[in-house]
Amino acid sequence: MPTLNLTVNGVAHTLDIPAGRFLAEVLRYDLGLTGTKIGCNEAECGACTVIVNGRSVNSCIYPAFKAQNTEVLTIEGVAATWQSPNLPISQSQEMEQWSDSEIEELHPLQQAFVQHGATQCGFCTPGFIMQAKTLLDANPDPTDDEIKHCLKDTYCRCTGYVSIVNAVKAAAEKMRTGHLPEPVLPDHVEPLMHIGRAIPRPDAVEKVTGKAMYADDYQFANMLYGATLRSEHPHARILSIDASAALALPGVHCVLTQKDIPGELRHGLVEYDWPAFAGGDYPARYVGDPIALVVAESDELAHDALRLVKVDYEVLPVVTDPVMARQPGAPVLHPDRPDGNLLKHIKVRHGDIEAGFAAADVIVERTYRTPMTEHAFLEPECSVAVPAGWNDPRYGPHDKLTIYVGSQIPYADRDQVARCLGIPKEAVRIKGAVMGGGFGGKEDIAGQFHAALAAQVTGRPVKVLYTREESLRFHPKRHATIIRIKTGAKRDGTLTAVEAELYGDSGAYASLGEKVMTRATTHATGPYVVGSAKIDCYAMYTNNAPCGAFRGFGVTQSAFAVESNMDLVAEALGMDPIELRRKNAMRVGAMTATGQVLRDSVGLLTCLEKVENEIRDWRLGDWEIGRLGEGKNDAASISNLQSPISQSLNLFNPIRVGAKVYAWGIAAGYKNTGLGGGAPDKAEAEVEVFPTGRAEIRTSSAEMGQNLIGVLAACTAEELGLPFRDVSVLVMDTDLAPDGGPTTASRQTYLSGNAARLAARSMRERMQGVLAEKFDVPPEVIAFHEGLAYVDEARLAKVKSGNGDWRLEIGDSAPDAQSPISNLQSLNLPISQSRTISFADAVKTLIDEGRSPKLRYEYWAPKTQPLGTGGDMHFGFSYAVHAALVSVDTETGEVAVERVVSAHDIGRAINILSLTGQIEGGIVMGIGNALTEHYIEENGRPWTQHLGQYKMPGIKHMPEMRNFVVEDPTAEGPYGAKGVGEISSIPISPAITNAIYNAVGVRCLALPVDQDALLLAMKRGVREIDRRWGDALER
């Protein structure tokens, strides 16, 4: 083997390695520097960026021998390149979880990424920091445009880039002046001790230094590698498999197929319809279906051997259109099901639909199409299974079959692995690795059971890492939908009726398709009070990729149709689109189309008001003219065009600057928090307090970048009166942490947040009880604050004064539903030394008294009702209004989102920094949904095979943003909070298409907006585009 000499982070290495290795592999697998990530293997995403002799390169396709005799810098070496000029340290209170020196030892970019929330899932972070470093090395004070130019092909799927740009600027300032500026965040209600603050995520430092361990970062001794053979055909029976040639290769251990599965052959989150390996009675039903797993000494060998496995197929007829799939005579995918290809017919019936339309003065009806889209989380799926009894020199003993994986539903993984292997659930442990994004795409099981089976068979650890291509091909996507929707309204704007028919392409397997399309259906009247509704949805099986959960969970699709129709209704009525929405907006006391009466926390009107005021204030001032004019500073070239809507509604009038036309568009949306529909919804959390004065909170909910861990830590610290840094969080471990339920439906802040809060509160009460004995006072006067436990003398005085019922008094001064601590803090009285002990001593007292320092709390969300039974379909909804200022280039049809104004009612901001991150990231993802993203399949075969063929928004798509937070608390939510994860990406797509219409008078009925079709429509005077040009060509 040839010899490679190179210096990495100042350390010289001499390595004998195969000539075909890539630099990223050398760094990760030969040198163990796993901070450099591999996201795509095609120089597309930038996660693998390292610096070679001063120039940044994509190390994933950089031949290792290109780096012969070079100096390589990786994320692990960045901090050491920074010599702090010994300037005074100005650390913010929020950064207190790390010591000053821990922070100061980081490179300013790392510091800034931590403080500005520019790392979420963290998988892209090392690449961003390396790439940004090349900019700051050359340019100490870059402009926004220079930053965007530098980071153009480095992709982030979580942040929406806003915080990244801010962090790079903050780092530059730190390097120039020694001062790290703090993030500018939306106004929000007064924080408590921890709740509501901008506390950086607890794992931020690990993520910016490359230390965070994602599944592929684990390198077990003697590890084997599995590669999955997938179907060549979208529908085919597997007649035989000949693996002899593959098995003949030295280093190939086994080729596993359906015959090797000891347990159940099929799995699924809702329906057991998906074979772990296609074969026998279960044909391959899409091209992602696994047929065999080759297990070999190296990943490369396993993939080479894959090509030698011969499969004899009987090709079956294919159906790839959900409408066709419902026709008689269509090929049937699952003959064992009662309704042919119909996965589910979902119905909403509300009021008298005929009377509703009869009462309408205007009726608008259109058919909308939304495409299949891809999560494009930056970390491809990876599972590492370790057999029971394996004692690893690096990772220690494993007493049971253990799977390291970043998964959204660890307990479901455990159960599905056990089912497949035919072993008890308790014999399997899922141990969460840091997860590089999920967005719904890591709910269905991927390679977990294949790796587990291979580990069982070989007795060695087995890693199954998907290539990006495989990830795209395999995992469930966002449903493509066809939505015909008819809206009726009276002259005054009152909505009288909505009738809709939805087709959802659920693809080959049920996945969460039924649930997703139910959400699309129940939200198909929008966040409005509607006199009557008749909605029918058909979720269909086809031979396309399965479709399941994806941020928005069906509501993204129906909201596009609903909000487009709302603007059409407004136009038909000659009414302001905001006024129309306000008139019909849901409010407390209103009833939804599913018969639910909203009892609290409906902040939609406030959202509308915030957004309206902001865009009303938006003036085309000198600055804007300069900017929009792009140098053409003569104001004469800027003119108000004839508006396609009435002239009086000048808020949405188009403005022409040169060839570009600018206009605002608006849309509203809502999204349930929690599973709803009668599904029992609970989360369990365990809190443990330690004689060291620390606490740990445990729940097997998933941390995928959204900062659930920060939320859980804040709730726990708040209730126990501990400093934030003294609470650790353990998530995603089925042995060590109780079940938090699936991380889906924007439910974890509410569910696991409540479980953590109530576990911690119960522990506090237990400790109060013990200390009350010790100090001989009523338990309620024992307070916890900043790591101390003490008798609150002021409360005690009140109690002692015998002034009525002391319980009531305490309740007044410390409203128990909220935090007790903030109120104590405001009392600001001297603390009696004699009756104050440290939290550590309080824990010791607890233990001495024979009480357990551990406590589990099972939190049950309020009961919900199944669809069709009336009553509460959901226990809460979040609301949002988005306004988008778009520009349309009338020469090219290119559309850009220039500015977004949003308001989100999320009940309560638990962590304002990560909340803002969820909002910014959701908005940019929604921009992708409207303008760039389309996972294309042709007759069941993906045209989109590589990341380069699937454009998620890059940093240049990032608009300027103004985001308002509306905190209309919900009684049961933790501190009033409800979900935010999904709502932030819902209204933006229709806001954009509404803006396009306002700009150029062309309505896009299909997503994504196609510049080609848009231009030709403008040229030809066509006012509506109902298909993408590609579809039109295919016909």
């Binding site: 396709i61 290109k66 092909d153 380069g948």
Partner: protein, 297 residues
């Protein structure tokens, strides 16, 4: 399947003699941003060896030589974008190289690779073409290397196919230094969904007479507008014949380019009609810019 040997020759002789020895089992690699991706994605047959030409001494040089600007085949897009020489003499090339990929790609992707990959829409190629560039083809004759200069267009055969034999490589490119009253520019239209290559790219260079209104030389490159990179020669003739470079001349040149270009619909990328429109839009953007630069020069 990965390659079994990775060679880092120091000279063109060494590179080409190696290449010849492998008799088809090896291929030249420069930045690898096309070749390695093609191999990774199964669009390229497995190779025994890669021969990295970026280690060849001075193959990345950019210099002025006797009336020519000479660019080594291994010059990266980043180097070209940043080169004051190229910014001055060949703005169209600097602009076309500056939009390729992101900085990480431009730091390694070479102009030689961009041309040799032979796609009709390759950006650097379109920039070079408008500058009347020539390509230096180096041939190993069994004992030594011989290099000849030939017109850039002569090395393209069809999409993804060049005319280079298994004993040949590109050594360099050259284009004439900027003439008095000469200017060039490049622009392109991208599609937001998928595919890195442009829907259409256009580069143009014009040289004006002393009046500053008439063209004495004009070249227009368009891609993709046929199986190989395309020169809009009929438009060039119209510009040269026009009494002044006014709106009428521009519109006639656009009309001619639209007629001469062999546009087609590429699936999920662009329709023929759209490309037809974009020829006009880009020429209206690029030609006036080139003329303004010529007038300023």
């Amino acid at each position: 399947m990965r390659w079994q040997a990775y060679h880092t020759p120091q000279s063109v002789d060494e590179a080409l003699s190696l290449l010849s020895q492998y008799a088809g089992g090896a291929q030249i690699v420069a930045g690898g941003t096309d070749l390695i991706l093609d191999m990774q994605q199964g669009n390229h047959s497995a190779l025994q060896a890669l021969i990295d030409v970026t280690t060849i001494r001075d193959l990345d040089q950019i210099r002025e030589d006797n009336g020519w600007i000479v660019i080594g085949a291994a010059a990266t897009h980043a180097a070209i974008e940043a080169s004051p020489l190229i910014r001055h003499h060949g703005a169209a090339l600097a602009e076309s190289c500056s939009v390729v990929g992101g900085p990480q790609v431009r730091n390694v992707a070479t102009i030689g690779g961009n041309v040799a990959h032979a796609l009709p829409a390759a950006d650097g190629t379109i920039g070079l073409l408008a500058l009347n560039a020539e390509v230096q083809v180096c041939t190993w004759n069994g004992a030594a290397v011989e290099c000849t200069w030939q017109p850039l267009l002569s090395i393209f055969v069809g999409p993804g196919k060049n005319r280079l034999a298994a004993n040949q490589m590109i050594g360099a490119f050259r284009f004439p230094v900027r003439a008095l009253r000469s200017g060039s520019a490049f622009d392109r239209i991208m599609r937001p969904q998928g595919v890195a290559l442009p829907i259409l790219g256009v580069a143009a260079q014009v040289t004006l007479d002393e009046s500053g209104r008439r063209a004495v030389a004009a070249s227009i490159a368009v891609g993709p507008a046929g199986p190989i990179p395309f020169r809009a020669t009929e438009s060039e003739t119209i510009l040269l014949g026009a009494p002044t470079l006014d709106e009428t001349a521009l519109e006639r040149a656009i009309d001619a380019a639209q007629r001469q270009a062999e546009l087609r619909t590429s699936k999920h990328r662009a329709s023929k009609e759209y490309r037809h429109e974009m020829i006009a839009v880009l020429l209206r953007r690029v030609l006036p810019k080139a003329v303004a630069r010529a007038q300023a020069a």
